[in-house]
Symmetry: C2
Subunit: 340 residues, 2 copies
């Protein structure tokens, strides 16, 4: 019989479907056609094809918007929101509008076109996360901005229109309703139990063990009990921390390491699938003490259709415990390299 599982935070239900069960290996992804570095505006040497950089970690003695950078942040050329202009709210009868003030930036993660996040050195991966933190803190000083959404779309199906490794941030002039709801749920649990719901999840997962992909001093990566998607993975700081803005360098280094591990296993296990990686954190300048920031990794191997849109329930053909077993059985990069 299929089993319904409820996510304790969102109270969202997931159907772990036995009748349409798929083995994890059924999700091995067909190779996407690579477009290659021709005409790529994010490659080293093409700095003039993007708007001027707002941040770069670069070699000493190299000028802005020239080669010599390791990680480079630029405004999105086709920005959904822009920093200029007044923030105006208007009511039109029952409806409400707000002028589109905000920011939309691209974090170009590496000068080389063909690299994947798991291929970076841990130091380089930590530099990418430092760029996230620095822009997050910088934009947090602008009183017009209320929330910063950092995310990474990988693969065309997951919305990456450019192939060169990059992540993005969009800063919004309003706290998104979904973020407010998540803060409220953490508050309610804190009021009711006197504890952080995510800290309780961490403890449950460490005790259970069957859904853990990786852990180190500062982070735990696991497939959540009510995984919506095959190989869905959450990465939580092991010590309570309300906002990503509070991470220190040691944590960033541990996060870089665990992200490389998780994304590397996923890439090797199901042949580089498309995914969205999404930061969940408190709104800017109103840190919710009950909240616990984290990353959610959503591989895009199943289709979200009418049932999911209507109910926010999901049909997951692969139990998270089976997904974890498959990820852990996948040979490490060394073993793959000796075969290749």
């Amino acid at each position: 019989m299929p089993e319904l599982r409820q996510d304790p935070v969102s109270q969202r239900w997931v159907i772990i479907a036995t009748e349409r069960a798929k083995r994890p290996s059924d999700f091995i992804h067909p190779q996407e056609t690579k477009r290659g570095p021709d005409n790529c505006p994010f490659c080293a040497g093409k700095e003039k094809e993007t708007p001027p950089e707002v941040l770069a970690f670069r070699d000493p003695d190299t000028a802005a918007d020239t080669p010599g950078w390791k990680v480079r942040v630029v405004p999105n050329k086709f920005a959904a929101l822009r920093p200029e202009g007044e923030l105006q709210s208007k009511e039109q009868g029952i409806y409400r509008t707000l002028s589109g003030v905000g920011a939309h930036e691209v974090i170009i993660e590496h000068p080389e076109h063909h690299l994947f996040f798991p291929d970076y050195t841990t130091e380089h991966a930590a530099l990418v996360l430092k760029a996230w933190r620095q822009r997050y803190l910088q934009l947090g000083q602008n009183p017009k901005l209320k929330y910063v959404q950092i995310f990474k779309n990988h693969g065309q199906i997951a919305g990456a229109s450019l192939e060169h490794p990059h992540s993005q941030l969009i800063a919004t002039p309003q706290v998104p309703a979904a973020v407010r709801a998540e803060m409220r749920r953490a508050q309610n649990y804190q009021d009711w139990r006197g504890r952080c719901i995510y800290c309780d999840i961490l403890q449950a997962e460490e005790t259970n063990g069957s859904r853990i992909i990786a852990l180190n001093d500062n982070f735990l990566a696991f497939c959540p009990f009510a995984s919506r998607f095959p190989f869905e993975t959450w990465i939580l700081p092991r010590n309570h921390q309300p906002t990503f803005g509070m991470v220190d360098d040691e944590q960033l280094s541990d996060l870089a390491f665990i992200l490389k591990e998780v994304l590397g296993r996923l890439k090797r296990a199901v042949n580089d699938p498309p995914y969205n990686l999404i930061l969940h954190t408190s709104p800017l300048r109103e840190e919710e003490p009950a909240y616990h920031w984290h990353l959610e990794l959503l591989p895009r191997l199943t289709i979200v259709a009418g049932f999911e849109w209507g109910t926010d329930m999901y049909i997951n053909p692969t139990p998270p415990e089976a997904a974890v077993r498959f990820l852990l059985e996948t040979p490490g990069p060394e073993e793959v390299e000796t075969n290749g």
Copy 2:
């Protein structure tokens, strides 16, 4: 400057993106490869390839599970949930599970493989909707079931694994959290204003006029003010009605007509795009008087990626007013036929 618009029901924000603006004609969809009726288990004559029918509107003197039907409802062969078994709830520490009791049925809308909903006669389209209502009411008598989600996935990208025209229903043993939240929002507005929020939206749309696609005595179809997607369309009964279970035959006939109109315009305007059509209604046996059932049509022409998953905010490159103008300028079926 881009504009943010807020949906009054969900309080969800949408960015109407001017920098990445697309004309409605940019969405004209590449033709999907048709697989054709070979091996299709839903075609007339293949009745033994599906589980036995639970409902059929068929010619007199024809036997169940033989040809002669107009609309036929069968359990999904690969059901996400099944009616057999006890409904058991279990707690595992912080987590909760429920046995997968429910129903998953397919409404085979027409014996012919190649027809689209807009091609049906209004009488036939009304028969499809009657099958929806009959199964909805029938399943509502089962005390183990709490919600019936009726939906139609059209096109592979929208999750239709079979091409033959069909819709589906999934009955769940728990009210989905998203449905509860929508009921609560309608209640809150009723408490605050003493009116139905959807009735207020209807009035605002009729007064404004620029987002209306079609209307008749019983229904209004319009692109919502805070459309998440290009050509997103909502179809509301013009008189307040909490649940789909209450619709009468006259309403079903008007709904059939307006659905044919809306889906026909969409098909002709952007070349048969993939879409999800989703019923929003009250939970079974606990009709929420403040709620107002309706259909939401979500064309799948843009990609939902990391930003949307993190915030439930959407970037829509086409204002709904422009989408409506384009739909209304599209020639009618007669004009297309004389050209073809």
